[in-house]
């Protein structure tokens, strides 16, 4: 808990030139060496360059600058590596994912600071001030809303944990009370409980996509051929002139990101370079960036002018997005007659026509479950929670599979204990008494 390797993105999410990903703990240098291709622990406190590579897939994520720090001469007092990647949302997140694949754990909020205090690098008052600073950037209203959502989730997870404990109690009963009246537990009883649990884990995990969008904002990427009016639409939705708009095709070369609210839901709206084959080297880079955003997008706002028939290449592009598309017809103020088979919301960045409809459609699209419900179901809003649920599901399945393979109950039960621990990472702590209480409640034991 106090010395394992943790990693986190240290800079705020969103548009920025660079982002910093920090790694700390015993073995931080080893973990970093699996991700940074040309990593060297020495010399410390010197910037060096390296490609960032995913250790499992070998995929190149970025070209980055890193600095190694040696315990105790670091922020946390432990061995550390600070990696400066390119900014935005994707590259830092992918770098973090690569570090996790290399053996790091995603840090809990404030964990770097806590370690700094533990190792005497900072006193408590300083640490509290750091915490206040970080918290103050989140709007109070949103925090409240999130904590209410989380409350529902922790109740739900408490119940799931209780179900796993029930299951473990059945196994424990067989081991701890071998000579009892009721005889062995019927295998169907265990099988049924396992299936029910796995289904519940899957159900809850399915809410994770929208939950994370609610926390981070859904990624809405504006795309289309050059000069289709993407940046005008972007500015109209954001509410001020953020992107440079000209009549010259190919003006936008870098992706631009801004937060917007649609129908009460948070979005990260991204304007991208127009999609076309180009000879201009800088513009081509912009197009490559566009594609990366398009791959990660929750929804793609595809722009085509009113009254223009889509080209076959555009049709082909839309098909590749697998339905993650809201079609928009731009420049409605010019008001040309609709072309044959024209579909999509007619929008004008100048008159504002169609913008409310587009916002509603985006909310419905990215938050389908949430926008349709009056009462909120518990929702998995954090990646950490989703990962824990995934572990709980996998361990429960492993319990089932190992039993089928003929493994003894005492051994297979280790999977259930791991599932319980995963759930407790989200909500709290367990005691062996929990198991025994269940045994005593369900069986008449004792001679």
């Amino acid at each position: 808990m106090l010395s394992d390797v943790i990693a986190a993105v240290a800079t705020p999410a969103g548009r920025s030139a660079i982002a910093v990903v920090r790694v700390s703990g015993d073995g931080a240098h080893t973990v970093a060496s699996r991700v940074l291709e040309s990593f060297r622990p020495e010399p410390e406190r010197r910037a060096a360059r390296s490609r960032v590579v995913h250790p499992a897939t070998g995929e190149v994520i970025d070209e980055a600058v890193y600095i190694t720090l040696h315990a105790p001469r670091s922020y946390t007092g432990q061995d550390m590596v600070e990696i400066s990647t390119h900014g935005g949302v994707l590259v830092p997140a992918e770098t973090l994912a690569a570090l996790v694949a290399a053996g790091a754990r995603v840090a809990t909020p404030g964990e770097f600071t806590r370690r700094a205090v533990l190792n005497g690098k900072m006193d408590l008052l300083q640490a509290e001030a750091v915490g206040d600073l970080i918290d103050a950037t989140a709007p109070a209203q949103r925090r409240t809303a999130l904590s209410q959502l989380d409350r529902g989730l922790s109740l739900r997870i408490t119940k799931l944990r209780s179900q796993v404990l029930d299951l473990e109690a059945l196994v424990s009963y067989e081991i701890d009370f071998p000579e009892e009246d009721s005889g062995p537990v019927a295998p169907e009883r265990i099988d049924g409980a396992v299936e029910e649990l796995c289904e519940a884990f899957r159900d809850l995990s399915r809410t994770a996509a929208e939950g994370e969008r609610l926390r981070e904002g859904a990624l809405a990427v504006i795309a289309g051929w050059p000069n289709a009016g993407k940046s005008s639409l972007f500015n109209a939705l954001v509410g001020h002139e953020r992107a440079i708009v000209t009549e010259v095709p190919g003006t936008t070369r870098d992706a631009i990101e801004a937060p917007v609210t649609c129908g009460g839901f948070p979005f990260r709206l991204v304007d991208t370079a127009g999609l076309r084959a180009t000879e201009d080297r800088v513009e081509r880079l912009g197009v490559e960036v566009s594609h990366r955003y398009l791959d990660a997008a929750d929804v793609v706002i595809f722009c085509g002018e009113c009254g223009r028939r889509l080209e076959p290449a555009e049709q082909e592009f839309l098909e590749k997005l697998n339905g993650r598309v809201v079609m928009v017809r731009t420049k409605a103020d010019i008001s040309p007659p609709p072309c044959a088979s024209e579909s999509g919301i007619r929008v004008s960045a100048i008159s504002g026509e169609g913008l409310p409809e587009l916002r509603t459609e985006l909310a419905r699209f990215a938050f389908a479950t949430l926008s349709g419900q009056a009462d909120l179901e518990p929702l998995v809003t954090r990646e950490r929670h989703r990962a824990a649920l995934q572990v709980a599901l996998e361990e429960t399945e492993a319990f089932r599979d190992s039993r089928i393979a003929g493994l003894e109950g005492a051994v297979a039960a280790i999977h259930l204990q791991a599932a319980v621990r995963a759930l407790e990472d989200i909500i709290g702590v367990v005691t062996a008494d929990d198991i025994l209480d269940r045994v005593f409640a369900s069986f008449c034991v004792g001679k």
């Binding site: 808990m1 106090l2 010395s3 806590r114 205090v117 533990l118 005497g120 006193d123 408590l124 640490a127 473990e168 424990s172 067989e174 081991i175 701890d176 009370f177 071998p178 000579e179 009892e180 009246d181 009721s182 393979a405 003929g406 493994l407 003894e408 109950g409 005492a410 051994v411 039960a413 280790i414 204990q417 791991a418 709290g428 702590v429 005691t431 062996a432 008494d433 198991i435 025994l436 045994v439 005593f440 008449c444 034991v445 004792g446 001679k447």
Partner: protein
Amino acid sequence: MSALDFDVIVVGGGHAGAEAACAAARLGVRVLMVTSAIETIGQMSCNPAIGGVAKGTLVREVDAFGGIMGRAADRATIQFRMLNRSKGPAVWSPRAQCDRGLYRRAVRTLLEEQDALETVQATVARLEIRGDRVMGVVTQDGRKFRGDSVIITAGTFLRGRIHIGLETRIGAGRAGDAAVVDMAEQLEALGLEVDRFKTGTPPRVDGRSVDFSRLERQDGEGDSFRFSQFVRSARPEQLPCWITWTGEELRGIIEDRLQESALYGGALAGRGPRYCPSIEDKIVKFPNAERHQIFLEPEGLETSELYVNGLSTSLPVDAQIAFLHAVPGLEKARMTRPGYAIEYDYYPPQQLTPWLEVKAVEGLFFAGQINGTTGYEEAAGQGVVAGINAARRHRGEEPIVLGRDAGYIGVLVDDLVTRGVDEPYRLFTSRSEYRLLLRQDNALKRLGPLALELGMLNDEEQRTLERRLEEEEMVLKAAADTSVSPDRVNAYLDTCGESQITETQRVSELIKRPGVHLKDLFRCTGSPMPQAHEESWVSAQVEMKYAGYMAREREAARKLAELTDFHLPADLDYGKIASISTEAREKLGRVRPESLAQAGRIPGVSPSDLQNLVLEVMKLKRNAA
């Protein structure tokens, strides 16, 4: 030093007392055992059996320290069974039915064979305490004994009171033995928190009046197992147990007479153990159960008396006779002794350190039922811990605390002092988070090296330990070095229901398949079998078969050790830590945990409380530095 001067005094000669005295004496200090009746040293007050699930493993842990219980049980075993045999070696649980007389005499003999250990018959009137330090004991016959450490192992004797029905109440520590009142009053007057528990015992019957033709006979297993890992003693003649069932008629009798039960009529208030319910409890709490199993267990070789396991009761004597006669096979049974409930003082164990010393009184140790536990084995385990640490305190050495991953003894003591008890505490495998690591076959391997380091093993025992460790290594190495070809092993794999192999494989790989046994695999190889004891084979097989799972448990234990290394100051003023919850302040102040790991196991202390506690302690340490 006068003849009345000792280093460690043990008050009580039951299962905790015997082990405490033995452990302290093995450490080389001068030990006195004071018991009210030398004849009843090692008495089995309740059921005539040693071991069982988790308990059997604990007996072997006690044995690893050179303890008494395993050796005595081996000499007294009249029926032996390995419980959970079909559920895999990881949870095999040895249990022996014992001849009460043989067991008692074996304990006494083993104590008498121990150097530097004396026994006197006397009842302790009071403890000599100066300030907050114990100095010795004074007995009712006026003798004074000096000792730096005093271990109280009073069992159910402190203000013990027996109940049979609503009318009969007898002050007693056990049927036929007087309760201890003086010392109980003195302990309470010291300001220690005291509470009451109850437990019960069933009637016994004359075997000559039992119709065995209506009972199911249960014989024991073969002769191979011994609890002791150091000595292999001969077993006495073997006897069967007998199984029968309660039915509708018995239910009717209990329901009719329920209000006359000491428990249900309101005569008894203390909490009893849920896992050892009286027959009244079983009928009331599980109304849908059609029948309940009863074991008739022999009391010994030289008597026909049988212990009726499963019918613990506090009903009046005539009701007991009536329901006994409703049991198939017992229609004409003559009851030799009635069952009874007993309530007694116990001292909530959160008042103790993790080495079982009373926090408020230096040098005073508690072990056994006085700490709210039940069971001979649980008492014995605490006796070992108290005995070792009482001797070490006398010598001015650091206390020894057993980790939860080291043994069930560690689990037991940690549960007691950290979580406290709200019913008589019994061990289960579910109490441990390391069920796979804590096995009966590796008890000596786990704890023998510590016992040796502490100086508790003699030369011969040391050689036995070393041989045991070498053997396992040898088997593991042989398994890694030996391969077996498809034509040699496929027929065997077929019989295990395992798929055949196509290429030669190492034994250490093949053993990972669920149905495969290590010795059988070696036989297939045609190579010479490594010569090793059964435990070494079982242990090596488990290590290889479940290597991945064992690694997970060891990793969890390693993480826990990290938190255990984070010590909390003994004088920390929890009331002044504003950043932790009110409940946590109160609970932490009561338990005063030694380490962060122990703090984390206290119910009511949340992870965020722990984090804030860490920050606070770090700040204090730096300010002090």
